[in-house]
């Protein structure tokens, strides 16, 4: 096919190939309710959307394309059939094509970062991206593991909690600024690499209808864990999921003396 030759030529001369991970999660604005049997949270009929940190990852990939640092940006989502909606949003934001690794409903609830990172690693073997950008964590499980595990599986460098990504001084590496407890840390990583996005990396764009319409025509490929040869056997068992304890009301005191008195009463000071 002539077009394949042309596409390869174009890709080679046009910057990094980026793979972006997107997870479909319960929308951040929803009031989450625990199931009566305490086996998990209620997901049926509840509004879902793209994990906010993943939106930031998608935005960064699209911006890198606009700056000509990247040539092709591919979005990937591991999840149920509805994850395709999430991928369509990524396509509408400017991603070129999408991959959906569909997980059967029975195995969905037991899916862990270890499985997702293995699936992503397998896809990286065939897609050969220069950069993988993932959200630092998902807002449903707060695991903060997939990016790190993926880097380890691929034996690639990782730059997590990124608040800035730019070419290094010699343009041969990526210079990533990381948000750490003590402030900001800047490191240079060679590509290919895994980067996870933090809140201040960027502000994602709002996809408007023409972009959504265009996205409908962009390619979306489907894959299964079997095709990728990854075992989804759970390594953990969720014992129970419960509401956090109701916060007890505090007491207000009028003066410092009162405060010391109360603390003495409770035996907290001598």
């Amino acid at each position: 096919y002539i077009h394949i030759i042309n596409k390869a030529d174009m890709a080679a001369s046009k910057g990094l190939k980026i793979l972006v991970g997107c997870k479909r999660v319960i929308d951040y604005a929803v009031k989450v309710r625990v199931k009566p049997d305490r086996s998990g949270v209620v997901t049926e009929g509840v509004k879902h959307s793209m994990n906010p940190f993943d939106e930031i990852a998608v935005e960064e990939a699209v911006r890198m394309k606009e700056k000509k640092l990247a040539g092709e940006a591919v979005a990937i989502s591991v999840g149920p059939p509805q994850s395709q909606e999430t991928l369509r949003t990524a396509l509408a934001m400017g991603i070129d094509r999408a991959i959906h690794v569909e997980i059967p409903l029975a195995q969905l609830e037991k899916l862990q970062p270890i499985h997702v990172s293995k699936l992503l690693a397998k896809v990286c073997e065939s897609e050969k991206p220069d950069l993988v950008i993932l959200g630092k964590q998902a807002i449903d499980d707060d695991c903060n593991q997939t990016g790190q595990m993926l880097a380890a599986l691929l034996d690639w460098p990782q730059a997590t909690f990124a608040s800035k990504i730019e070419p290094s001084q010699d343009s041969k590496q990526l210079r990533v600024t990381r948000e750490v407890d003590g402030g900001l840390e800047t490191i240079d990583v060679s590509v290919p690499a895994v980067v996870t996005s933090d809140l201040r990396l960027n502000e994602p764009r709002y996809a408007t209808l023409p972009n959504i319409m265009k996205a409908k025509k962009k390619p979306l490929a489907k894959m299964s864990p079997d095709q990728l040869g990854v075992d989804l056997q759970p390594r953990q068992e969720v014992i129970s999921v419960e509401d956090p304890p109701v916060r007890k009301a505090g007491a207000k005191v009028e003066s410092v003396e009162d405060l010391v008195g109360k603390l003495r009463e409770k035996g907290l000071v001598k």
Binding site: H3, H48, E66, Q82, G94, R205, L209, K217
Partner: protein
């Protein structure tokens, strides 16, 4: 959900082209009018088109999570936007009317109908507007009206040019319609080379059309393709297309974020050695 063509006629006050008209019109026309504005801010300001612009609430519609467009009154309103390939095609026809003057034209995947309307303005004898979406054909009827090309009984009242509206998927068949006299002489294809699959189908169809189809003596047609340059170039060789003209559209006309311009090409099938009658194609770059 698939939009069912409504046959219910309602008596509505519809604002068309700045004039309040009380007229019998279908529910669809009313909905299209309600969700679009008349717009000339594109590459062919000679044409007024009903489009979904940032002034319309629909522009900001977000697909729901349960089904793609459950919140929208239409499914897939591609007709609500003036895509770049169509803009380049229409521009080319308005600037080079000789290409279609007096000839029978078909606008494939017509959407808002701009390319076909430009062909009428350039003097085409007839235009078949073809789109598998019935709503697109309604939008086209509306756009004909606002450009003073009102029609009745398949003909434009003012000029006698013939118009037809077809919703069948014609891609792959040549000739596309039965009657020999009705076979289109020029085929307009705007913004349909959007995926490898789609482009492959169209490339093969373009070859058929240019060759004249089955050895039944059906006439060959000239195929004009309008598409962003990078996309169509990939299939140009397979479809035996040559670049006729190259336009630079501002990014906002291409529904792209960020500053700059994008290149859009108008391509044509290369004529067979024997078919040298007719206008010599003009080659060149237009910025």
């Amino acid at each position: 959900t698939n939009f069912q063509h409504p046959f219910a006629i309602t008596n509505k006050l519809v604002q068309l082209n700045g004039h309040l008209c009380r007229q019998l019109c279908s529910q669809t026309l009313g909905l299209i009018a309600a969700h679009t504005v008349v717009c000339r801010e594109h590459f062919t300001p000679e044409l007024a088109l009903r489009l979904i612009t940032p002034e319309c609430s629909l522009f900001y519609a977000r697909p729901g999570e349960s089904s793609s467009f459950s919140e929208l009154p239409f499914s897939d309103p591609f007709w609500g936007f003036y895509w770049p390939g169509g803009q380049a095609l229409a521009r080319h026809l308005l600037d080079n009317p000789g290409r279609v003057r007096g000839r029978r034209v078909i606008d494939v995947g017509c959407g808002c109908g701009a390319a076909g309307i430009a062909a009428l303005m350039a003097g085409a004898a007839s235009v078949i507007f073809n789109d598998i979406d019935q709503v697109a054909l309604e939008a086209t009827r509306l756009n004909l009206s606002i450009n003073q090309l009102d029609h009745a009984d398949g003909a434009i009242a003012a000029t006698g040019q013939r118009v037809q509206f077809v919703s069948d998927d014609l891609i792959g068949q040549w000739p596309p319609l039965c009657t020999a006299n009705e076979q289109p002489q020029v085929m307009l294809i705007g913004d349909l080379f959007y995926s490898e699959e789609a482009a492959a189908r169209l490339a093969d169809w373009a070859l058929k059309a240019a060759a004249g189809g089955r050895p039944r003596g059906s006439a060959a047609a000239e195929v004009l393709v309008g598409d962003p340059v990078l996309v169509a170039t990939i299939f140009a060789e397979r479809a035996n297309l040559r670049l006729l003209a190259r336009y630079c559209l501002p990014s906002e006309f291409m529904y792209e974020a960020g500053p700059g311009t994008g290149a859009v090409g108008v391509y044509a099938t290369m004529p067979k050695a024997a078919d040298t009658n007719g206008a010599r194609p003009e080659l060149g770059t237009i910025d």
